[in-house]
Symmetry: C2
Amino acid sequence: MKFVAEINVMPQKEILDPQGKAVKLGLHNLGIDSVDNVRIGKHITLEVEAESQKAAEEQVEIACKKLLANIIMEEFSFVVTAV
Amino acid sequence: MKFVAEINVMPQKEILDPQGKAVKLGLHNLGIDSVDNVRIGKHITLEVEAESQKAAEEQVEIACKKLLANIIMEEFSFVVTAV
């Protein structure tokens, strides 16, 4: 069975996000000054071939921990759906 | 009212994603060879102060078009929720 995973990798809440800060300033400079607390991370989509939803989720969790996220500084979340 | 926007900015489907290709190879090298079609984009969260859901969505749409996404090469989607 084929599954699609949608993964978000974000800097942990306690960690400063200088890229987000820069983007917030950029938006204010463009006149969009109602935004605050901008945080920027990665959005990853991938297809997984697995026997079950659970097996697919396990694969994605391993992929996140081993490669996609730096768990010292980042946190990840994902949704796996069958296609 | 305060709203939180969750924004995804992804490379357009027709456009090659070398970063995604590199990550796919990396995953295969780690033994996770059931994954395919990896695509990598940005995930942005921000808070918007606006009078209504509609006004908040308009602000976010403008922010995406003006700064967050390069609409020549990228597509964006977002969800705005009241907090």
